[in-house]
Amino acid sequence: MQVETARDAAASAGGRPPEAMPPERAAGHGPLGLARRLLTLREASVIVITIVVAAYFAVTTDAFLTWDNFKTLLPYFAPFAILAAGEVFLMINGEIDLSIGAVYLFTPFIFHEFYDAGFPLMLALILAMGACVVVGLINGFFTAVIGINSFITTLGMLLALTGGTLIISNAQPVPTPGTSVLEDRTTFASVFGGGTYSELIWALAIVVVLQLVLSYSRWGIYTVAVGGNRLGAAEAGIKVRMVVIRNFVLCSLCAGLVGVLEAVRTTSITPDPAGANEILFGAIAAAVIGGTLLAGGSGTVVGALVGALLLGILNDGLIIKGVNADYLNFYLGVAILIAMAANTYVGRVRRGAAVG
């Protein structure tokens, strides 16, 4: 019963109502009924494709379906799930944040700067997160108050922050505070990205919390409302600007956190703008593959998590299959196009089934 209500709310937060199925079909029990129920979930198409891709690699390679490979897969997947979770809120809102890669790059350096200035680890981290909040506020202010398209606002922020990072770091890598390759891992490092499952736990926790916020709180409802009908939301009395600004701050915070987690995991902070752009593309791809509309009004955080998982499996599986590094991005791009086409097709079939 509890599952039923959760599904209702998730579906009604911009999606397809489970009840739209003819009752005699919806009431189906047994494996077939369960399969039908699964297919009416909004994330169904991307889940199906992810399972198919994983099955392909499991069958065609020996190394894919091993625990060691699961651990290898995590960094390809967990950071993108967190980044995409924040981006989903903005995309549902009808906005986009292109600066998340730059925030990801910038925040660890700020963390390092504060630590260098003599602040204790945790305080330095909190101050670095504060810097992310400021970035989000600026993005939100230029977009919602001054009225510049978020694509342009955050493109400006991307360039400014990337440049700022190169200036602060003198384009030189630095060791991540609280980590050392020579010594044992500290508790701080284990919690913030250093532990094997640290990033996975962060990702799952953030996805669960943000999906609950999206489906069960005013913030979530207002995010869908502003993305779906901005004028109508304003007429109903929703503070549209506040909703947009809040989501920019959330998105920046997610990106900054991932920046720190990755810096701790790799024990060094590297000023690599090209890598930061790949992070941005990966996160947006995960959100879109997971069913979030670029046009706004619809999307789920859980879908973005599955989208990130699909990207991670593709990346990892292609490497296991021994695909030449030069070909990797090519195959990844083709695979994304095929996955999205299949996603759209399955989605259409699913809607056909749901409408009856």
């Binding site: 209702d8 009604s12 009840e19 939301a233």
Partner: protein, 276 residues
């Protein structure tokens, strides 16, 4: 041009009654070069249903949006229960007991029926910030049942519903709020005779209670005469007629509008003749 028009027009001086809940005085509003309202004054008595008529673009919706706090007037004053009234926002106006059905309905297609019913009026599990969906679903069913509008699935997104059903939801959410002044901007526009009749019945019931005062924009003169106590007509950004419905008729209202069209065509022809 302006002199020509004012020669033929009737401007009704501001009136007031002792039991006014709302008075609007000399409101003006322009959007850039477009003058929506020049000098509008009207009053609304307690328990009264005031019909607001006027051509498309006459400024009816703008006036409604100023009263409900969505737009600020350029000039003029308003009084709510004899107190000066300057709404800062839609929320502020709502907290003072004014609620609105907008012409565009202000529904979000992606949200479900019950989520739209409670948009910006959500129930939460206090002190937790989580939505009390079960309570909102139950209240939505009760409210729609009370009006007599049949919407089988309140979890469906409103995008799936007919125009009349959507309008019914917008009316239901405004009427069931605690407001005692309702602004209804063409509440029957997308409805068939049966659904429209139910909404008029609802308005009749509200009127009988005597507690709720309503300003209603309508296009159908039969609806106006059936459910309004008094009618105001906006022409060229001013109130051009203010009469109890008992003293007017479909013929008189039609004649005023036909006359307006006649003058507009004359003016347009005159311009065309003068142009070359």
């Amino acid at each position: 041009m302006a002199e020509q028009r004012s020669a033929g027009e009737r401007v009704v001086a501001p009136k007031e009654a002792r039991d006014d809940v709302l008075r609007v005085e000399h409101i003006a509003k322009s959007f850039g070069p477009v003058v929506a309202l020049r000098d509008v004054s009207l009053h609304l008595r307690k328990g009264e249903v005031l019909g607001l008529l006027g051509d498309n673009g006459a400024g009816k919706s703008t006036l409604m949006k100023i009263i409900c706090g969505f737009e600020r007037p350029d000039a003029g004053r308003m009084f709510l229960r004899s107190e000066p009234y300057e709404p800062r926002s839609v929320d502020h106006a709502r907290s003072l007991g004014i609620d609105t059905v907008y012409q565009d309905l202000a529904l979000v297609d992606e949200l479900s029926v019950f989520q739209n019913m409670f948009l910006r009026r959500e129930r939460v599990h206090r002190p937790l910030p989580f939505l009390a969906n079960r309570a909102m679903r139950a209240e939505t069913r009760a409210a729609l049942e009370e009006i007599g509008i049949n919407i089988p699935n309140i979890n469906a997104p409103v995008a799936r519903l007919s125009g009349g059903q959507r309008q019914a939801i917008a009316v239901a959410r405004t009427v069931r709020s605690q407001a005692d002044i309702l602004l209804l901007d063409e509440p029957l526009a997308a409805m068939g005779a049966k659904e429209g009749g139910r909404i008029l019945d609802l308005i009749e019931r509200l009127k009988k209670s005597g507690e709720v005062s309503i300003i209603m924009v309508l296009h159908n003169y039969v609806h106006v005469l059936a459910s309004c106590d008094r009618v105001n007509l906006i022409q060229d950004g001013v109130i051009a007629l203010d009469k109890p419905t008992s003293e007017t008729s479909v013929e008189e209202l039609t004649e005023i509008v036909v006359d307006e069209y006649r003058r507009a065509r004359l003016a347009a022809n005159g311009q065309r003749a003068a142009a070359p």
